[in-house]
């Protein structure tokens, strides 16, 4: 990865996903906005470079489709998602038709057989990932915070893994902290914390942990002022990233960190 930990935070800090360079580490979801106008303004104030769109909401036969026409695909990477797919077969078919219609060869893989908590099915996600990687897609799978599955997906050739912090739409923050830590430690591909981040401080925590990026939808789209909240998340992500790069002092040691231990070097 191209992160220079020794450098201060400037333009050198970028993220590469599937050979594309991103300077923003905030990906925006579009599912819950009250209008395309609010969505477009939130996109701008978030400074995001990647936006995910549910294919089930897109009318591929109608090129003037609302959501897609509201997003400038010269400026942003559109990341279509397979929300609503209950198994690998449905997700693969959806991805194929989206690419054939010229939407994108990126795909955010969501396979959620349970319509209530919308939790991802690891087995079917792995199956669909293997197929879509072979078909040449840049696959970004939404998964439970399962370190073994994350490694299997990496082996299958996905360009990132997207473990959940908490179930979609709950705004509960990073409830899977310990497992996401392991995923980050073991991963050679970007780890993007997806789902459950309820406030900018949650995004900051994910970034402080060393996550490469976060994806946010509900917390921004359903805020009273989504445009302001999008900016707040942008800042939360930057703050967390800067803290990570700065090499935070471990919490437990801060009390005596400044005491003089120079004598040890003289032994």
């Amino acid at each position: 990865m191209s992160i220079k930990k020794e450098s201060s935070f400037h333009r050198e800090d970028y993220l590469i996903i599937g050979s594309h360079k991103f300077y923003s580490r905030l990906i925006l979801g579009t599912g819950k906005f009250s209008s395309n106008k609010v969505m477009s303004e939130s996109i701008i104030s978030s400074k995001t470079e990647m936006i995910t769109v549910a294919l089930r909401r897109v009318d591929l036969e109608n090129p003037d489709d609302d959501i897609l026409s509201a997003i400038d695909n010269n400026k942003y990477i559109i990341l279509p998602n397979t929300s609503g797919a209950q198994n690998a077969d449905e997700a693969v078919r959806l991805a194929m038709i989206a690419r054939a219609s010229g939407v994108s060869d990126w795909i955010k893989l969501e396979v959620t057989p349970d319509p209530r908590y919308l939790l991802p099915d690891g087995e079917e996600t792995l199956k669909a990932s293997s197929i879509l990687v072979k078909e040449g897609f840049k696959v970004m799978p939404y998964i439970n915070a399962d370190p073994i599955l994350a490694k299997k997906l990496e082996d299958a050739g996905t360009v990132s893994v997207m473990p959940l912090g908490a179930p979609i739409g709950t705004n509960r923050g990073i409830k899977t902290y310990e497992l996401i830590k392991i995923i980050i430690e073991q991963s050679n591909i970007p780890v993007i914390v997806d789902a459950g981040l309820g406030k900018p401080s949650d995004a900051a925590i994910a970034m402080e942990m060393g996550a490469d990026a976060v994806l946010v939808n509900t917390a921004i789209a359903t805020a009273n002022d989504p445009v302001l909240m999008a900016e707040a998340f942008k800042n939360g992500v930057i703050a967390g990233r800067m803290a990570y790069l700065s090499g935070m002092a471990p919490e437990s040691n801060t009390a005596n960190a400044s005491s003089t231990l120079e004598w040890i070097s003289k032994l």
Partner: protein, 372 residues
Amino acid sequence: MSFINNLKSFNTDEFNYVINCTDKGEIHDILLKERIGYSDFLKLLSKEAGVILEDLAVVARHQTIQRFGKIINFYIPVYLSNECTNNCIYCGFNKNTDITRKTLSIDEIKEEYKKLKDMGFDNVLLLTGESPETAGIDYIEEAVNLARDYFTFIGLEVYPMEIEDYHRLVDAGASGITIYQETYDRDVYDLMHRSGRKKDFLWRLNTPERAAKAGFRKIGMGSLLGLSDWRFEAAMLALHIDYLHKRFWREEVTLGFPRINPPSSDFNIPNPVSSRELVQMMCALRIFLPDTPFLLTTRESPDLRNNLIGLCVTQISAGSKTNPGGYLNDRAGKQFCVNDNRDLLEMIDLVKSKGYEAVLKDWEVYFTGISK
């Protein structure tokens, strides 16, 4: 095992105690919880909860927006046939009622579909009475097949069937099925349904389960409000949905709240439900079932519909006709009277003016039945 066992073991005395004796403090404690259990839910149906209805509404609204966003989905009912062999005393299609009977021909079905597609609808609900001779499984299957050429989501509200028949409809491309129990009160059920296949309470009660086994992805539930005590109906619906959730985790249950609107004034509504009571029922169910889509028909008045859109409803119909051929101005008999005549464009404007996004497409043709 069947839901009837749960229904039978429901303790009515305890329920009545909860309805009459829950106090405000208890309700406020419940409203602070992130998720509530069944016993808490029953307290939200209490008389005291009705007094502080606005407090319930605040939570219901918040939960709806958090789970679904500021989104309203649209659907449109298509009545294929008003022929019926049942004698249900509240219904416009009652076999003894003197109305013009009609079952749409294949060409008429296509014309209706085309007209609705041109208006902008992408989600249809196909309805029939219970008349297996004139509008049976083959006919409905054909109607589903034809609908695939026009719409992404196809739901059905047809008479209860066996699993194998349902399976054919799922294979044909139907994703949703609605089966309103009408009432969970067995005595009232018996009084209301005088003859015909529908008289069999258990056959109807077990229909959602058969539908789930057949692989429908969405199962619409509801009671016809006005037949029996609304609090009892709400308690039973929640119990029934909980029962289905635990057995059929892949299926999504949706809820409708039809209040009786008989097409003729001959029918006296046994237990009328006021708008305030309807709202309490919806709020309590929303707080208990934060993930469940709530549907609202044009039975309700424009004023109430406008308000419910910003409360806890997630899917509405617009410009509905409740008679076969209604969109082609046919004069066949209606099932019930519509109270809100605004068309799709007017409703989209209304939804937008309330700060909500109007969504017409929210499904994929590649989403097929749940394989068992």
